[in-house]
Symmetry: C2
Subunit: 441 residues, 2 copies
């Protein structure tokens, strides 16, 4: 993509009302634009990140055996009355009346609707386990939206729902999601730590939040340093196999959000030098809720013995749009964003220092073509601006690699390659660039 044909409205100054780094940087790098409080447009570069995150989530959900469907944004109020949640939900639910005065709402979550879909279509234990998910826009009418996409009102969420015959089977479904989540966040280039979280009136131990550690996180978290270095399950993970050892390894050590933090246990179980006390940004949650929806909504299946039983359910959320904020909070410096390779808007920023020079231009066009032929996406800065402006913009946007091409370098047969994260620079021939970058995939 040529920057001269792109829409990347970067800002030199910090926007006044953005309080945290990710919000400031997303506005400054031209990724989003606020349309109303907590409601954003995704400009082209921001949308590219959103789609890459979404693709990783989808890929791993499918691998874990979940089925994708898509539920609408608007729902009938009566459906929520059936599950008993309509009156309980409070002012965060956006309630709407249509032209015929029928009560609708903008879905903040989908337990009710997915239970209705399941109930209408599945009647036998033979179809179980089943896990249905979608990636859809949700709305929660926050009293005070802030921090950009981190606490927006219209936000993109992946929500999955598992259906099982009993609690033992539901635990297996829970473990599949737990393991999938470890892989999902790792593939995005971030470390999200599963921590014990509130189960509310359901009780039990099947509730974990996945948090990215960052000082700007919304909740205090406490954990054993050892959990920060546990290995991520590999590509050969067998979701049909026994996942208990993996979950066991990740849950044996202390890790809890402030809501369920037990200071005595923390100090008893974790040696002082191993104690980590910091803040975290929630990017995902896995939760077992048993028959909370299936019992009132009569989502029953026949058992092998021939009787009927409400299914045991769980829900599994990932804040897809929120993840952009979390990833930036975890990866930025004074100059701007530092994107992990897998979710960067483009992997390479090609800085053309002399676009009016036909030979430099030709070298850039050739480099771009060679990179794209290897499936590496490129933003080619062919604008007539000063070198300093171009470098600052590339650092702000945070693409993992910068390739700097100019008259002086080409006269020596070289271009400069810079790694955004480390600042490391090297000189090499243009022909060597694609292979060098491809090595890092």
């Amino acid at each position: 993509m040529r920057l001269s044909r792109y829409l990347l409205p970067t800002l030199k100054e910090n926007p006044a009302d953005a309080q945290i780094a990710s919000h400031r940087l997303m506005l400054r790098a031209g990724l989003i634009r606020q349309e109303a409080a907590g409601i954003y447009s995704w400009l082209p570069a921001g949308l590219r990140v959103l789609r890459k995150i979404e693709a990783i989530v989808r890929d791993e959900m499918n691998r874990a055996g979940a089925l994708e469907l898509l539920m609408p944004t608007l729902q009938l109020a009566d459906l929520w009355r059936e599950s008993g949640r309509y009156d309980a939900y409070g002012p965060e639910m956006l309630r709407i009346k249509d032209r015929h005065e029928r009560e609708l709402l903008y879905g903040p979550t989908n337990e009710d609707m997915v239970t209705a879909i399941f109930r209408a279509n599945v009647r036998s234990y033979r179809a179980l386990p089943m896990n249905l998910y979608h990636v859809q826009w949700k709305f929660r009418d926050e009293q005070r939206p802030r921090f950009g996409v981190m606490r927006g009102r219209e936000f993109l969420m992946k929500d999955a729902y598992s259906f099982d015959l009993d609690e033992a089977a539901a635990r297996r479904s829970y473990r599949r999601m737990f393991v999938a989540y470890l892989r999902i966040f790792a593939r995005m280039g971030i470390r999200a730590i599963p921590m014990r979280a509130e189960t509310g009136p359901i009780g039990g131990d099947l509730s974990h939040e996945f948090l990215v550690l960052a000082q700007t996180g919304e909740s205090a978290v406490y954990c054993d340093r050892a959990v920060l270095d546990l290995p991520i399950p590999g590509d050969d993970t067998d979701y049909e196999g026994d996942l208990e050892p993996i979950v066991q390894a990740w849950t044996a050590r202390y890790a809890a959000t402030e809501d369920v933090h037990d200071i005595e246990r923390f100090e008893r179980e974790v040696p002082a030098e191993q104690r980590v006390q910091t803040r975290g940004i929630e990017v995902g949650q896995v939760f077992y809720f048993g028959t909370k929806y299936s019992a009132p909504m009569k989502a029953l299946v026949t058992t092998p013995e021939g009787d009927e039983r409400p299914i045991h359910g769980g829900s599994y959320g990932i804040g897809v749009s929120r993840l952009l904020g979390a990833i930036i909070e975890a990866g930025h410096d004074d100059s701007g964003i530092i994107w992990p390779d897998a979710v960067a808007p483009f992997r390479v920023g090609l800085v053309n220092l002399d676009p009016a020079d036909a030979q430099v231009e030709a070298a850039c066009v050739e480099l771009q073509a060679q990179l794209e032929a290897r499936g590496i996406d490129v933003l080619h800065d062919d604008t007539p601006e000063r070198a300093g402006v171009k470098f600052a913009r590339m650092d702000l946007l945070g693409l993992p690699w910068q390739v700097v091409v100019g008259r002086r370098g080409l006269d020596r047969g070289i271009v400069e390659l810079k790694r955004r994260a480390s600042g490391e620079r090297s000189e090499l021939t243009p022909a060597d660039v694609p292979a060098r970058i491809a090595e890092h995939s």
Copy 2:
């Protein structure tokens, strides 16, 4: 995908309230489920079609030089007051108040918002031409939603907006979209005919609707039979080049919707034996509206001469979710849907006649793996149902190819391949199946 692990709730009977074939078949084939009047969930097989259609649209839009962004579903009422449309829009607009009594609406279209985005970020003619598009859910509160996804309330639309310095440049943008649309619909395996349509108070000749011909279409259409056989622009189409000859060829012959039909001209220009009078389903529209939004909203750019001028705009819509209905109206028979290869939920339905037989099962697993290795998606019916039930279900679902594998055939070393559209059957060895199907890509 194994059918035993999938969610494909097919119905034997016709749903009572579905009046047209596509609505009946989408419900019967388990593609969608109604959640409220005109609001649908997309079940897994339906979502696969939706995504394939979306991917074709996106691919051709990008090729034509358009930039994808994503605007939110909810918009501020004040934005529509600024463009002067809020009061004019009428009861089809879903108006919403949030918890702070701020007026929002569920976007039925995005001219206003995209103009505000452009205005905030682009100030010079140098950035032009620019074309911004998104694929997003819209809501129109139809008085009487019906015909399934053909006239739903929550629907998925691709809407693009072009920005140019003057009318001559806007005409070039219009032609790029006109040509892209010809290619988009052709790639989906349907023929959509561009027809002159209303321009309203704007006037001029720059308004075309693209219609799929079908007896169940919502509007009467009139055209010269010759337009039905015009060639579609090829993969080598140069969007930077002169597209006027292509547009000229497609607009020289009579083709008009009932709204602008001129019976005298029709009879004068088209020989009687060439006259086609039928009905059509609108699947896209391209429209030039000049400074209608840029003037009141002050979306100005500086000209090469240094003065400021409101940009000349156009909008270009494609009804992504509606297309499923249109494609089915154009392609079905008494047994069910007949999907074009490019948008079928799966290209191949693998019918395992004896899933309890280990050798048949192994042959199916091997065939599925070989097809998937070639990038051909497969729905493998491994359920224990009767052969007749399986055949009827595959015909109903309408996958382009059926591969039938059973004990008796395998004993002779063969499987049966059936083309859904023609009903043509052939016997071949399992090893020959992938290449035979791949030939048809």
